[in-house]
Amino acid sequence: MDEFHLEQKHSVKPYLLVFLALAILTGLTVILSYAGLPHGMAILVASIIALVKCTLIAAFFMHLRFESKGIYAFIFAALFFLLGLILSLIPDIGIR
């Protein structure tokens, strides 16, 4: 294993920075949940923070940043069908 490979793969600094970001975002979303935002706004804010946290975990802890396209294909397929599931349920809520 050459030196470049070692350095790129085994530095722990990005992990600690991601951990710090996750901790701050968790604190932020809890504080905002007490801020008395309108319900729709509260859902939007909590969703955005949760999605950012998930992206950070997947990209850094699960190393998706360094993965090949083959793995992305599986994840995007699952996310595509998940989105389809949620969108296809919206008319059910809409007609009430």
Binding site: S11, L16, A23, T26, I49, A50, F61, M62, L82
Partner: protein, 194 residues
């Protein structure tokens, strides 16, 4: 013992073990996704959903648990980095920390369940209760599975199976563990914050 077969490559160019884990995790996305979708529909559609007041929900404990789980994720990834650097002492230490944090999460969860059941929020008391216990229970089962996987990795690591040349199984256990963390990151706002 060799883990060479884990590094076998197939037509995709991805190691078999990693590909298998990601296919499994993709199916897990659909499993939890189906529950969350039905939660959205019933919560928005039903006037009788029955979201409990905050003193029953216990936002403080759930926040503590969120911190516990993201910390366990970082110790898991540090365990992987340690074995990739051939630092076995740190590897074992981080792995033990990960398992203890996972166990802490479960104990807090049991305490939470007892409190909620005592306050009258059960799996049959309301739609919220059904979703809450089903989804957090499913998540807790996944966490127990992760603990067993991690314990196996720890025992094998203690025997000296893993090194900077052979750490793939540690990486795959980590992928699963981070996924369980990721699911909690979504369940936390869904049940406790909005």
């Amino acid at each position: 013992m060799s883990n060479a077969h884990l590094m076998d490559y197939n037509a995709t160019g991805i190691p078999n073990g990693k590909l298998g884990m990601w296919v499994f995790l993709s199916s897990e996305i659909m499993l939890f996704g189906a529950f969350i979708s039905s939660y959205i529909v019933l919560r928005m559609g039903s006037p009788l959903f029955g979201v409990p007041p905050e003193e029953i929900l216990g936002r403080g404990l759930a926040t503590t648990n969120t911190f516990v789980l993201i910390t366990s994720s970082v110790t898991m990834v540090l365990a992987l980095a340690a074995i990739q650097n051939d630092n076995r002492t740190a590897f074992k230490g981080y792995l033990i920390a990960t398992n203890l944090l996972g166990l802490t999460f479960l104990l807090i969860k049991i305490f939470e369940y007892q409190h909620k059941i005592h306050e009258g929020l059960t799996i049959t008391s309301s739609l919220f209760g059904s979703f809450y216990f089903t989804m957090t229970g499913l998540h807790a089962l996944h966490l127990i599975g992760g603990l067993i996987f991690n314990l196996y990795i720890l025992v094998m690591g203690w025997k000296g199976t893993y090194s900077s040349q052979s750490y793939q199984r540690v990486e795959y256990a980590g992928l699963y563990w981070h996924f369980v963390d990721l699911v909690w990151v979504i369940l936390f706002p869904v049940f406790y914050l909005v």
